[in-house]
Amino acid sequence: MDATPRKPGETGFNILLLLGSIFLFYQAYKIAGFSALSSPGAIPMAASAIMVITTCIIVVKEFARPKAEGGAKAFFTQILPFTIAVMCGLIILFAVVLQQLGFVLTGLAFLWVSIWFLQKRSPLSAALIALLCVFVIYVLFRLIFQVILPEGIIPERDIIASVKNFFAGAK
C-alpha cells in the first residue's frame, strides 16, 4: 500500500474531479438518455461513467494514505506559491482583456509586467524585451501568415494601410 503522505490540497482536488465527473455524467445522460447504442450521447456517457468510477477509486485509495501536513500554509508554499499564483492571475487577466484591448497592447503589457515581476530588476530592460518579442510575433503572425490577431482599440488595419499607401506613394 502506498504510504506517502498526501500532498496539500490533493484530497480537495480529487473530490472536485469526482463532483465534476458526476456533473458531466449527468450532462452526458441529458444528451440522449439511454435511447440507443448509437446515440450521440453513448460515448460521452461511457467516458464520463469511467471518469466517475476512476475518481471514486482514486478518492478511496487517497483516504488510505496519511493526511497532508501543514494545512493551507503548505498549499501556498508547495503547490501554489506566490509567484505561480500571481502568474496565473496575470494570465487570466490577459485572457479577459485580450479581446477588448487587442493583442498588441495586452501582449506588451503582459510580457512587460511578467518579466519585470519575475526578474525583479529594471523595468526598462523588461520593456525592451517585451517590445522586441511582440514585434517579432506580430510580424510573423499578422504580416507574414496573415493571422488576424484581436485588434481591440488600436486601429491596426488603418495603420498598415497608411504605411502601405506611403510606400505605394513613394513608388
Binding site: L37, P44, A47, I50, I58, M87, F141, L149
Partner: protein, 512 residues
C-alpha cells in the same frame, strides 16, 4: 521507364523547382515548430498565393512545407515541451526530458536522422506500392477503425505513470473533451450549455498547448532560481552505432506510420502515438526508462509521423481521397490549378505522380540538411533565463492558440486547461492520456456509431461481423494479445515455456 525517371528528376534539375522545394521545406520546419502555425493553414494560404503559378511550382512548395512541417513539430516538443503540431506529442514525452538533461542537441540530431529515414520509407512505399496500399486501406470498415482506435487507447497503460486509475481517468477525460460541441454526425449539441462558442467544440490544439506548454511553464516557475540547463552540443549527428541500434525499431515504426497515414481518417498524430506504444512494448531494456528520456521514445514517433507523409499521399494520388487534413487542402489546390485529382489522375497525368515522388524525396533531403544545421541557434533558446523564457512561452502559446481558428474562446480554453493541467500534474495525473483520448475521441465515437448502426444496433451483430472478416479478426486478436500480454498469467506462462526471468516484462504491481 526513362520518362518516369525524367518526371522524377524534374524538381532536381530545374533550379526554380529546386529552390521552391528548399524554401518550402525550410519554411515548413519553422511553421511546424511554432505552435498554432499549422501546415494545413500554411498550405491553404498558399492556394490564393500561388493561384497564378505553374501547377508544378505550387505543388513543389506545398510538398516541401508538408514534409518540413511534420518534422518541425518535434523541435519545440523537445526544447519547450510544446509540440508544434499534434503529430509531435509523442516526441515530447521523451524528447523534453532529454533537453532537461542538457541533451537537446543530441535529441534533435536523432529526431532529424530518424525523421529522414521515416520520410524516405513512406516515399518508397508510395512509389512502389501505392495502388495496392490504397485498395487495401479502402477496405477498412467502420468497425476496423473502431478496433484501431481501441488499440490506440491501450497506450493509456503505457502513459499512466504511477497510477493506472489516474491514467484511465485522464484518457476518459480526453475522449469526453473531444466530444464537446455540435456532434459532427447528427448536429446534436453536446455539453454546449446553450453557448454558441461551445458549438464548435474545444480545439484539441488549444488543450494540447495548454496542458503541455502552459502547465509546464507554470511548473518551471518553482525553479526560477535554478540556472538554465547548459546544453551540450558536442554530439549532434548521432553515431552510426546509435542509428544501427535503433534501425529495426525505426523501420517497423516507419511501416506502421506509412500505413496509418494512408488510411483516410487517420494521420500522423495517431501514427506517432501508436508507434510510441509499440516502442514501449517491444523495447525490453531501454538504457533510460521511457518518459525520462529514452531514445526509443523519440525514434518511434519521429519515424512514424514522417513516414505518414508519404502514406497520406498514397490514397490522394491514386484515388483522389486525401489521407489527412493537409492532403485534403492539397487536393483543393490541385483543383484550383486545373488538375482533377481522382482515380484517373494517374492515367491522365502520370507525370504528376512521379513528379510528386521526386519532390518529396528532395524535400526529405533538404529536411535533413536544414534540420542538422540550425540546431545550435535553436538550442540557445532554452538557455535563455527562465524569467524571460517563461513569459515568452506563455505569450507564444496564446498567439499560437488564437491563430488556429481565430478565436479568443480557444485562448480561454487553453489557459484554463493550462491551469487545470498544472494541478493535475502536481497531484500525479499524467497529461499524455488526456491528449491521447482527445485525438482518438472522434475516431472512436464516429466509428462506434457507424459500426453499430450498420448492424442495426446489435452488439452480437458487431462481433459476428468482426469474426467474419479476416481483417477485423486480425485487429481484434492483436488487441486481445496486447491486453493479455500485460497480465500476470501471461508472464507466468512465458516464464514456464521459455524458462527465463520475466523481470523485464512484468509490470511492477505497486504501479498498477
Amino acid at each position: 521507364m526513362p520518362e518516369t525517371l525524367q518526371y522524377f528528376l524534374m524538381t532536381w534539375t530545374q533550379p526554380q523547382l529546386l529552390f521552391l522545394t528548399a524554401i518550402g521545406t525550410f519554411a515548413g520546419i519553422y511553421i511546424g515548430a511554432i505552435p498554432g502555425l499549422s501546415v494545413t493553414m500554411a498550405v491553404s494560404i498558399l492556394i490564393s498565393f500561388t493561384f497564378s503559378w505553374e501547377v508544378n511550382n505550387a505543388l513543389a512548395l506545398m510538398a516541401g512545407i508538408y514534409m518540413g512541417g511534420v518534422y518541425g513539430g518535434s523541435r519545440t516538443a523537445i526544447l519547450l515541451n510544446i509540440p508544434g503540431a499534434p503529430s509531435a506529442i509523442a516526441t515530447a514525452l521523451d524528447g523534453y526530458p532529454l533537453a532537461k538533461k542538457g541533451l537537446a542537441g543530441e535529441a534533435i540530431g536523432l529526431s532529424t536522422t530518424i525523421s529522414t529515414l521515416g520520410g524516405f520509407f513512406g516515399i518508397l512505399i508510395l512509389a512502389i506500392a501505392a495502388p495496392f496500399v490504397s485498395e487495401f486501406a479502402l477496405r477498412f470498415q467502420p468497425r476496423d477503425y473502431l478496433l484501431l482506435a481501441v488499440m490506440g487507447l491501450l497506450l493509456v497503460g503505457s502513459l499512466s505513470g504511477g497510477s493506472m486509475a489516474k491514467g484511465v481517468f485522464a484518457g476518459a477525460l480526453g475522449i469526453l473533451l473531444g466530444s464537446v460541441g455540435l456532434d459532427p454526425l447528427t448536429a446534436e449539441e453536446r455539453f454546449t450549455f446553450g453557448y454558441t462558442d461551445l458549438m464548435t467544440g474545444i480545439s484539441a490544439i488549444a488543450i494540447m498547448i495548454g496542458m503541455f506548454g502552459v502547465s509546464e511553464a507554470l511548473d518551471q516557475m518553482h525553479y526560477l532560481s535554478m540556472p538554465a540547463i547548459k546544453q551540450r552540443l558536442t554530439r549532434i549527428v548521432p553515431s552510426w552505432q546509435d542509428v544501427k541500434k535503433h534501425l529495426p525499431l525505426g523501420l517497423r515504426c516507419s511501416a506502421l506510420g506509412t500505413f496509418i497515414g494512408a488510411l483516410p481518417g487517420t494521420g500522423g498524430d495517431i501514427a506517432a502515438l501508436m508507434a510510441y506504444d509499440h516502442a514501449k512494448r517491444s523495447t525490453k531494456n531501454p538504457e533510460v526508462p521511457f518518459g525520462e528520456g529514452a531514445k526509443e521514445g523519440i525514434v518511434a514517433p519521429e519515424a512514424a509521423n514522417n513516414a505518414a507523409v508519404g502514406g497520406a499521399y498514397i490514397p490522394m494520388l491514386t484515388l483522389g481521397i486525401p489521407g489527412d487534413a493537409v492532403t485534403a487542402v492539397i487536393v483543393g489546390a490541385m483543383f484550383v490549378h486545373g488538375l482533377n485529382p481522382g482515380p484517373l489522375l494517374m492515367i491522365e497525368r502520370p507525370e504528376i505522380f512521379w513528379f510528386t515522388v521526386g519532390t518529396l524525396t528532395l524535400a526529405t533531403i533538404f529536411m535533413f540538411i536544414f534540420g542538422m544545421t540550425g540546431i545550435k541557434i535553436f538550442t540557445k533558446i532554452v538557455e535563455w533565463p527562465k524569467t524571460v523564457l517563461l513569459p515568452v512561452i506563455l505569450l507564444l502559446s496564446i498567439v499560437g492558440c488564437y491563430a488556429i481558428n481565430n478565436s479568443v474562446t480557444d485562448v480561454w480554453w487553453m489557459l484554463g486547461f493550462g491551469i487545470i493541467g498544472y494541478f493535475m500534474k502536481t497531484y500525479g495525473y499524467q497529461l499524455g492520456p488526456v491528449i491521447l483520448g482527445l485525438i482518438l475521441s472522434r475516431l472512436i465515437d464516429d466509428n462506434w456509431r457507424r459500426a453499430i448502426i450498420s448492424e442495426q444496433e446489435s452488439v452480437v451483430g458487431l462481433f459476428t461481423g468482426i469474426f467474419m472478416s479476416p481483417l477485423s479478426l486480425f485487429l481484434f486478436l492483436t488487441i486481445v494479445f496486447l491486453l493479455f500480454s500485460q497480465t500476470k498469467l501471461w508472464v507466468k506462462l512465458k516464464t514456464r515455456v521459455l524458462g527465463r526471468s520475466a523481470k523485464d516484462v512484468t509490470i511492477d504491481p505497486t504501479q498498477v
